[in-house]
């Protein structure tokens, strides 16, 4: 992990930050398939091997970009939740779900990166922290909906995460039939969510 503090590097100015920005832009434009460390260096105006001082590998840079993605993600969901009165826990959870899917659709490449399994994931403290913050945010809202005294908050939160992530993924990866209206799926599925996680044993 390179320096988290920015001691205003020597030659370039702040190559670490410039690379992250250039990388994020490249990712958004071209997708992960066409993401290249050398192109990041080109956009930053440095030689192809310059990034080596700040990122041990291309995966390290991607981890940092993913971490930034999680941070923006959490901000988006927070903003969406704040638009709903905090007493109305259910609607608030639904608003977060909408914002979740909206983020994925608006930032598909980085969203895919954020949820892709990477061997470097465990090595990036920043990414782990940012990812954990997102989980905590969801966990908190689920608690607000079903109450803190229950013992199954974690698995209920996982249920919510799975449903919303599934919707977002299938839309972004274009795996729903073309005839299907995404918005209807989103609204209908989200609307059943508070009851589903509150409910007891919904066995058929």
């Amino acid at each position: 992990m390179p320096a988290k503090t920015k001691p205003k590097p020597y030659h370039h100015g702040d190559l670490y930050e410039t690379l992250v920005q250039a990388g994020a832009a490249l990712l958004a434009e071209q997708g992960l398939e066409n993401f290249t460390l050398r192109e990041c260096a080109r956009r930053a105006g440095v030689s192809h091997a310059a990034p080596k001082n700040h990122f041990a590998s291309v995966e390290d840079l991607l981890c940092e970009i993913a971490a930034r993605g999680f941070e923006q993600f959490v901000r988006d969901l927070d903003a969406a939740a704040d638009a709903v009165p905090s007493q109305e826990a259910g609607p608030r959870l639904i608003a977060m779900g909408r914002a979740y899917v909206a983020f994925a659709r608006a930032n598909a490449p980085v969203y895919l990166l954020m949820f892709r399994h990477s061997l470097q994931f465990d090595k990036s403290n920043h990414l782990q922290a940012a990812s954990h913050a997102a989980w905590q945010q969801l966990h908190g809202q689920v608690t607000a909906v079903i109450g803190a005294e229950r013992g199954d908050i974690d698995t209920r939160a996982a249920h919510v995460w799975a449903l919303v992530h599934g919707i977002a993924s299938l839309i972004v990866d274009r795996r729903f039939p073309a005839a299907l209206d995404p918005q209807t799926v989103i609204e209908q599925s989200l609307s059943s969510l508070p009851a589903a996680i509150r409910g007891g044993l919904g066995v058929s």
Copy 2:
């Protein structure tokens, strides 16, 4: 799209099929990250450019492997459904959900390939057909659960798909907190499914 019929080629025997098998094995062993057309050729015992006669690009080979994956996927879910009496539509859907997640966990690399957005997806008839068959299978079981007369079967089926795909994806990509027991999440979430898709307006 190369010849779907197998006219017993000249030199190798059946390089098309051999490449698909070698590719599937390589994918299962090494994952998509380390999937290489040249390694497929090596395993098939041919030169690095030989695949060109059967697959226009590496993506074409991957599409074929993904199509085979969907076919096996459908067979697995069929077998799981057949183990439950057909009158019990709800439990049958749940059994399919279990098989869905089990397939993803047991065949993670090809599962990720199957649900990855690819530009070549629309060009492969085989892949499109196999993917469509999986959708039809799910659609049929959802109809059995909620009744054929309803007008929202498609969106309810999408709901089911999203939940199960979300669970599978988050497990495979290791995005659930480590403390969470996947099996509990699976059982609890699936159990709520029949009621959730039958239910009317579950708004908070």
